[in-house]
Amino acid sequence: MSIKVKYFASIREALGRSEDELAARPGMTVDQVWQTSAQIAVPANTIVSVNEEFSHWQQFVSDGDEVAFFPPVTGG
């Protein structure tokens, strides 16, 4: 079991990849997911989602979760 990490738009470009796969640890937060997977400083205004819901950096994650990092949305 693991955590799927997704990056979009300028964050995807900065990292040079769109996905990571991460071994889940008990009590792991979204912030720790970023530190473990992205391994660069968090770009200003980065938004996070867990399982396609807007979330926050202190949110705990579980096995099988999908965590995404992206800049403020600019659609419409």
């Binding site: 979009f8 300028s10 396609e52 807007f54 992206f70 403020p72 949305v73 600019t74 659609g75 419409g76």
Partner: protein, 142 residues
């Protein structure tokens, strides 16, 4: 109904088709409010040649549906429709279409405005603009 698609669409044709296939609202609709967002060639002083819209498949549809259902809780509406493109977009091409059908105009206007405003802050789309000097990500929605 919510549609997220890569291919270009003609909003008036989409609405004509959608309405002609819809059943069950005969005689009830008194007001239709529609918004179309289109690609301009000038944005924040720069000349834009094309645009690429990235999105988060799955989460996009989920939030578009959520925003439409929120509009239906806030105002008395009969139906709503959203179509949003992703991928490469050229000037004058529609990016998004929002339509709301209601008995009365106040709820139609307010729900339509709510959907496009919320979509712009909560639906995970990102615009990258192409100019003569290369590409840049749009950092803030207007």
């Amino acid at each position: 109904m919510v549609i997220v698609s890569e291919k270009a669409f003609q909003p008036w044709q989409v609405l004509a088709d959608y309405e002609s296939q819809r059943a069950g609202l005969q005689g009830q609709i008194g007001a239709s409010a529609v918004f179309v967002g289109t690609m301009r060639t000038v944005n924040q002083g720069r000349t834009i040649e094309a645009m690429t819209l990235e999105h988060y498949p799955g989460m996009t549809e989920k939030y578009l549906k959520l925003v439409c259902s929120e509009a239906g809780e806030k105002w008395q509406i009969l139906d709503s429709f959203v179509q949003h493109r992703y991928g490469r977009i050229l000037p004058d091409e529609p990016i998004v279409l929002v339509a709301v059908w209601s008995q009365h105009r106040d709820s139609a206007f307010k729900a339509c405005r709510y959907i496009i405003d919320e979509l712009k802050t909560r639906a995970p789309f990102w615009k990258q603009e192409q100019t003569g000097e290369g590409s840049h990500w749009v950092e803030k929605n207007t």
